[in-house]
């Protein structure tokens, strides 16, 4: 019998802690599939964030460091400079990269550090209970924007890919989603392309992934997936933002 599906080699036999319908489990799986398919298990070093993505080190069977909240790009810089032969990527959420760690991400991008950031954008602080993130949409209700995010007092949703695109050090920036099978296949190809970009020594790459958070969006998993297409992707358009081969 032909085996068509199996646990990736680089995925530990652990149960994901993620909530039902959460996109982190899909994204984690895509990363390890790419690592296996590109034969990078012995080369990869992951920098985990603070937030829901933190526990990836319980799932990824590769060398992993847990960084302080927002500092992933600085830590990854230190690792990559010492070990340029390795594949070094940080896994960061929107609070981690677009709020507390903006400076570290921005300047790593500007220096053209040959690292990859896998940027999970679900529009809220998930682990702490659904507070407003920099990427929260206008009028979106969260625990800290109970009447909806008001631009006059809470600012506007941050488009990280577009911000980083103006920096000369960035070479590959693409926004994808994991809300339906076609999008997931596309997301996997994008992660693989970003890793190849890094291994070629071609500067800084970032993959932004729109990811459902049904628990904190207070929607069903199916409605969350629809909401990404109908609402979220209007603010965060999918596609290649920058690609300098």
């Amino acid at each position: 019998m032909k085996q068509v599906y199996a646990r990736p080699k680089s995925l530990k036999p652990a149960h994901f802690h993620y909530c039902p319908g959460c996109g982190h489990g899909i994204i984690g799986r895509l990363i390890v599939e790419v690592i296996d398919e590109m034969d990078l298990r012995e080369k990869a070093i992951c920098v985990a964030p603070a937030g829901c993505g933190m526990l990836v080190y319980n799932y990824f069977d590769i060398d992993t460091l847990e960084s302080a909240h927002g500092r992933g790009a600085a830590v990854a810089t230190g690792i990559k400079r010492v070990r340029p032969e390795n594949l070094v990527f940080s896994y960061q959420g929107d609070g981690d990269l677009a709020a507390i760690g903006t400076a570290e991400g921005f300047h790593a991008a500007n220096r053209g550090e040959p690292i990859t950031i896998i940027f999970v954008n679900n529009g809220v602080y998930g682990m702490t209970g659904g507070q407003m993130a920099p990427t929260t949409l206008s009028e979106q209700v969260t625990t800290t924007t109970p009447s909806g995010r008001n631009a006059a007092t809470a600012g506007h949703p941050v488009r990280i890919c577009e911000v980083f695109a103006v920096l000369d050090g960035t070479t590959y920036l693409e926004r994808v989603a994991v809300n339906k099978p076609a999008a997931i296949i596309k997301a996997k190809k994008t992660i693989a392309k970003a890793f190849r970009n890094q291994l070629k020594g071609n500067g800084f790459s970032l993959v932004e992934i729109l990811s459902p958070c049904p628990t904190n969006w207070k929607m069903s998993p199916i409605d969350s997936c629809r909401w990404i297409d109908d609402v979220m992707a209007k603010q965060f358009p999918l596609g290649v933002i920058k690609d300098v081969p």
Binding site: E42, A44, L65, E66, A68, A74, A103, E104
Partner: protein, 352 residues
């Protein structure tokens, strides 16, 4: 050579291959020296976007197996505390230099000793300690740098070199002949990619309270080993002294000048100079108190180390204090006058 440059040269000779720094006076000469010297030696230099980024680059370089260092001065040191706490929790070696200036807040750019408590009590959040080395001359600074790297790797813990603006910027002759090639320490924890071995993870998050408690006690036992093995101090004219000055770093250097003057007037003053501020040389101070009743603490602050002297004395003896905070550097003449005034008060008290 300036203290800052000597520090940089000693670090390179001691095998430091990664330096990350952010400009702040009075330690810029070190960052500038490293900008040229480290790449020359085949290492990595980055001028980071902040002190926070610099300490996290150090953490990354350290977990990748390199000897890494960063430096700053007081306000920047406050920003580094987050990373130092993570280095301690992750049990990663690193050398962090603080050329202290007047504070709090922006303070000024003059030499001060007002970061003593921050340095010796961990400094960041959580239950941890760092070895704190306080050299008193440019030569001692150069000698202490390789020791700092060795201690950091031997204990897998950040080590702080606590200088001040004066030590960093003053010029003195210095020799690097004592620096040997770096020792090899086992590095079975570093991240290199899981080639031919199980994958590793380096983390400080321990959700399980029992696990976290165990980790805290494990770190505590390591700090106990440091307290047993790493106390360093200098005794200066202690044996016949009737009053002991306790001072460190550049403060102790000024005290030495004062004591030389006072000895010419036959005032029997000696000094204990802590070289490790943590672990603090409490035992020698306590033992000296069996014979000497009066201890004079001098600090370029309103009094921080005095707390450790009090703890060391356990209620014995009399403590005198003189402090010059805010970046003021007293002269040996000024100090000799103050010390002699306290000395005569002491002998007067003795006669009553």
């Amino acid at each position: 050579m300036s203290g800052n440059a000597a520090l940089g040269e000693a670090a390179v000779l001691a095998g430091c291959t990664c330096y990350f720094g952010y400009p702040i006076t009075p330690q810029n000469e070190l960052t500038e020296y490293m900008a040229k010297r480290v790449p020359e030696a085949g290492g990595i230099f980055i001028q980071s976007e902040s002190e926070i980024a610099a300490i996290n680059m150090v953490l990354g370089a350290s977990v990748a197996g390199a000897r890494a260092m960063t430096s700053s001065s007081s306000p920047g040191m406050s920003l580094k505390q987050e990373g130092i706490s993570y280095l301690a929790a992750d049990e990663l070696p690193a050398v962090v230099v603080n050329m202290v200036r007047g504070g709090p807040g922006m303070g000024n750019i003059s030499p001060a000793q007002s970061d003593y408590l921050q340095a010796t009590r961990g400094g960041g959040h959580g239950d941890y300690r760092t070895i704190v080395l306080a050299p008193g001359s440019v030569q001692e600074l150069a000698d202490i740098v390789p020791l700092a790297f060795d201690l950091a790797e031997a204990y897998r813990n950040p080590v702080i070199i606590l200088g001040d603006g004066m030590l960093g910027q003053m010029m003195e002759p210095v020799s690097f002949d004592n620096i040997k090639p770096p020792k090899e320490y086992p590095k079975d924890y570093i991240l290199t990619g899981a080639r031919g071995r199980p994958s590793r993870m380096v983390r400080s998050l321990l959700f399980d309270t029992k696990e976290e408690e165990e980790h805290n006690w494990k770190l505590f036992r390591k700090y106990q080993r440091m307290e047993q093995n790493e106390v360093r101090y200098e005794k200066y004219l202690v044996d016949d002294a009737e009053m002991i000055v306790v001072a460190y770093g550049i403060g102790a250097r000024i005290v030495k000048g004062a004591i030389k003057r006072l000895r010419q007037e036959n005032l029997k003053i000696g000094m204990i100079r802590p070289i490790t501020l943590w672990p603090f040389p409490a035992k020698i101070i306590r033992e000296t108190a069996n014979r000497v009743t009066d201890f004079f603490v001098f600090e370029m602050s309103t009094g921080q180390m005095i707390e450790d002297v009090r703890l060391a004395l356990e209620g014995k003896g009399h403590i005198h204090f003189y402090g010059r905070p805010g970046g003021v550097i007293p002269t040996p003449i000024e100090l000799s006058r103050v010390i002699s005034r306290h000395y005569y008060q002491q002998s007067h008290r003795g006669k009553k």
